[in-house]
Amino acid sequence: MALDLLKRKLAPVLPAAFSAVDAEAARVLKLNLAGRRIVDFRGPHGWGLAAVNTGRLDRLATAADRDVQIGIRRAQPLIELRAPIRLPIAELDSVARGAPDPELTPVVEAAEKMAYAEDGAIFNGLEAAGIVGIIPASPHTAHKLPADVTRLPGTILAAREALRQEGISGPYALVIDAAYYAQLLAAAEDGYPVAKRITEQVLDGPLVRAAAIEGGVLLSLRGGDYELTVGQDLSVGYAAHDRETVELFLTESFTFRVLEPKAAVALTR
């Protein structure tokens, strides 16, 4: 029997229970993933993809024969993420008996952690994996997020002007951290919600909440600037089980590249 790396067929989990786990994981991931809402997505290419071609070449300084130059192709490797999900087998079996409310908190927690890790790599970078994030890559002077959120439109317009002056066209998206996002949603000016004013009159792209960042970033959605390459897209697999508990995991493989660092302006707290 051919098996893939997810090994789902080995799990003591009924199809209906797997469907419930998959659906809950997908729901939470879609709710939390911020980077995928604003960057170019390439894939999924499957487990077989190990690296992305950068087109670059590193020349070896020394070679056995002076008349032969040696260059080593530079590739950016994909990383694999894995977050465990431990669930009671009895609770999963209850789904097959028709339970509409299975206790799937470990699935929610794993999905939130995966989204946080992916977004962390996209926005902040992951040096060990050769990933430079959107925020550290930006060469622009960072703008300060105003403590008074009613002044945020002015900050957005100033950041947008910085992008425009560099020839970076829109539409533009605003990504902000969870605390500032909550503050923004609660704010009103003369009874009119500030968030609504921003999405309807200031931004021509989405307003995105990202738990993995501190502060924010205004960036272009024109395409071609930021590239998320996915090998195996987010999936639920099976690791092990005993008499009472099954250990599943959420996994994916990806890498992220900034192709035009100038396409974003960081917003600091």
Binding site: A26, R36, P44, W47, Q232, D233
Partner: protein, 137 residues
């Protein structure tokens, strides 16, 4: 120009919708050209000209399919629907029902379908949650 076909003011439309419009318009033009070249080739009395017409017709099919693939990569519904209907052997009007029946039999009912926005998932890859790009949200 493609903006002439817009039904709403260009200022009100996001860039993604404008690009979708460009692709749909291009696809329509390519398919129209296939129709024209086919008819001209059929009616043409000169064998050499007829061969040129048929060559051009086939080129237009190629252009149309390239545009269709762009639509698949950039529109989730095109992607989902093409995965359902294309390259199947069953009678076309029965494909959807057959797929639903297969999902129920395999316990996959309700699962999201995998979505590829660029490139193809290799045949050795495992089923995913189908998250893919979330830019359309």
């Amino acid at each position: 120009m493609s903006h002439e076909g817009l039904h709403e003011s260009a200022d009100l439309l996001p860039e993604a919708t404008k690009n979708l419009h460009r692709a749909l318009l291009s696809l329509m033009e390519e398919l129209e050209a296939v129709d024209w070249y086919q008819q001209r080739a059929d009616a043409c009395s000169d064998p050499e000209l007829k061969a040129v017409m048929l060559h051009n017709r086939n080129e237009e099919v190629e252009h149309g399919m390239m545009t269709l693939e762009w639509l698949r990569r950039n529109d989730a519904k095109f992607d989902e629907t093409m995965r359902t209907y294309l390259f199947k052997e069953a009678p076309i009007t029965e494909i959807e029902e057959l797929e639903k029946a297969a999902e129920v039999a395999e316990g996959r009912a309700g699962e999201a379908k995998p979505r590829a926005s660029a490139g193809n998932q290799s045949s050795s890859s495992a089923p995913s949650l189908g998250i893919g790009s979330l830019r359309d949200l």
